[in-house]
């Protein structure tokens, strides 16, 4: 089965971190993603720019509305995602628990709707 692991973190903590802290976080992510790739689990992992770069689009009555900012203003924002291939939820959960972002944020695990 495929799962999307959505990494939610407080951007203030991440952007306000010292260079050492940022270096350590990036190294941890590097090792984490390499482990996933080595295990054949990683189907695509990406980091997102902060919500200050977000644009939200809706179409109302045929008119496109474009708004500056994220869909929802919340403390812990989606900062990146991993698409993984895992045999079951148990395995997806254990990969999520290894994610560096799980220590100071939350990883939402969602099964992919297979068509």
């Amino acid at each position: 089965m495929q799962y999307l692991l959505m990494i939610h973190n407080d951007e203030k903590t991440i952007l306000g971190a010292s260079p050492q802290e940022t270096g350590a976080r990036l190294a941890a992510y590097g090792a984490y993603i390499k482990a996933m790739s080595d295990a054949g689990v990683n189907k695509g992992a990406q980091r997102l720019h902060p919500v200050s770069t977000a644009t939200t689009v809706r179409v109302k009555n045929g008119k496109t509305q474009v708004l500056n900012g994220p869909y929802a203003e919340i403390k812990e924002q989606l900062g990146g995602y991993l698409l993984i291939d895992a045999p079951d939820l148990e395995s997806a959960i254990s990969w999520a628990s290894l994610c560096p972002g799980a220590k100071d944020g939350a990883i939402e695990v969602r099964p992919i709707w297979e068509m």
Partner: protein, 433 residues
């Protein structure tokens, strides 16, 4: 129009598909027995790979219906369980064809095929995956309040209406919660497997909690007017037996089964001949079920020998101390107080703290108990907890503080929902001078 009488319990699922034709009593008795013993085994078996619980339940309901149609005329097969598994499998294939589902369903069917070749006609039993199903039901990814209902439905085949009445929600709400949980199991891929060694104690704990929740619901509903709630205690004991039989040497699983058996042994003594509430200390010991007590004692001893005490073993030990009155004629409150000390150190539960205070009051005097109750009451939200007010009222009454006792009984009476227990409290209140 009269419905055909069945020997099966009204709350079990297979009879829903009961045929309208006359049914041979022997065949239906066998079907009833297989339903009780094999229902969960068959659901677990059919859904283990596909994780499609509703699909397995539907297929199994059809299989039971054809059994009741076919067995009376053709005789009960040598291996009824294997027969039902085969019949249900055919339904699964039909359903998969209709939906033209993808690989997972057919993979699951292939596996079932291979296993059934060995099991169907001979004596070989189908693999027992009930424990794995239980762990799926009690998975942390499943909403906590639905774990016990889910086990009762999938392992025991109780229908949503029966479970709903026991858990005091509407059948529609319960039905919705159950189907949402089953959908999550399938779509999110909650596995049917026994957790890894390091996760096992915690995950088993969750499963045991769910079973105990089911038991407690049955216990408190034992005298309600709705007969469907009554059997839940027995069903929970059945689940406890399943766990103990499938997972060897787990002291807490044995402790839970012992705890439930001790409580259940007193079911006949909880009310007198006029249906009035009888507190534990005044129960007639000849109305206790000795066989259940002996079984519980054996389980608790075996669990204790494994050297890993836990919450359920300690609670069972408290019950064992109460049950010892059948031999000694008295209750060793000091021993019970010590057990509650250990239980409180382990759980820090305010409910345990109230019981502990009551035991200490018995062992060392009402004043000592009341002092502890004051402490507990100050530190936790017990204002809506009936046993807290009963314990307070009893101790205040003993200490001659009539006014305070009266108000505590008043609160307890307001919180008590069981009419017999409420009548008992009203009597106590009236007896205050």
């Amino acid at each position: 129009m009269t419905q055909p009488k069945t020997q099966q319990r009204a709350s079990r699922r297979p009879p829903v598909a009961y045929p309208s034709t006359r049914v041979d009593a022997d065949a239906s008795a066998v079907a009833a027995r297989v339903a009780r013993e094999s229902y969960g085994k068959l659901v677990a078996y059919l859904a283990a790979t596909s994780r499609d619980v509703p699909g397995a339940e539907d297929a199994l309901a059809d299989a039971f219906a054809s059994a009741l149609a076919v067995w009376p005329s053709q005789g009960v097969p040598l291996n009824p369980e294997g027969w039902l598994a085969k019949a249900a499998r055919r339904r699964l294939i039909d359903a998969a064809r209709r939906r033209r589902t993808a690989d997972r369903a057919s993979e699951a069917l292939e596996l079932i095929d291979a296993e059934l070749k060995e099991a169907a006609d001979g004596d070989a039993a189908i693999p027992d995956r009930r424990l794995a199903l239980m762990f799926a039901c009690a998975h942390p990814a499943i909403e906590e309040s639905v774990r016990a209902p889910l086990m009762l439905q999938t392992i025991l085949g109780l229908d949503a209406a029966a479970i709903a009445s026991a858990f005091l929600v509407s059948p529609a709400t319960m039905g919705q919660r159950l189907s949402r949980a089953k959908a999550k199991i399938r779509l999110a891929g909650v596995p049917f497997k026994i957790p890894e060694r390091e996760d096992l104690p915690e995950r088993l704990g969750v499963a045991l909690e769910a079973i105990y929740a089911a038991f407690s619901h049955g216990w408190s509903e034992a005298f309600s007017d709705d007969p469907r709630g009554r059997n839940l205690a027995e069903e929970a004991i059945w689940l406890g037996r399943v766990v103990v039989s499938l997972i060897a040497n787990e002291p807490e699983a044995m402790g839970l089964l012992a705890l439930m058996l001790y409580a259940h042994s007193r079911r006949a003594a909880r009310r007198d001949a006029q249906g009035r509430y009888v507190p534990l200390s005044e129960q007639a010991i000849e109305r206790w079920d000795r066989a259940a007590i002996e079984e519980a004692e054996g389980l608790l001893r075996a669990a204790g020998a494994l050297g890993a005490p836990g919450r359920f073993q300690l609670e069972a030990a408290v019950q064992s101390a109460h049950a010892a009155r059948r031999l000694t004629g008295t209750t060793d409150w000091e021993a019970i107080a010590v057990l509650y000390d250990a239980l409180f150190a382990l759980t820090a539960s305010p409910v345990v703290a109230v019981n502990r205070a009551a035991a200490i009051a018995q062992a060392r005097g009402a004043a000592a108990g009341l002092e502890l109750l004051d402490e507990v009451g100050a530190n936790s939200a017990l204002a809506g907890f009936e046993p807290y007010w009963v314990a307070r009222a009893d101790l205040l009454a003993k200490l001659g503080e009539v006014v305070a006792a009266r108000s505590a009984y008043g609160l307890a009476i307001g919180l008590q929902t069981d009419p017999a227990a409420r009548a008992f409290l009203i009597e106590r209140l009236a007896a205050l001078v």
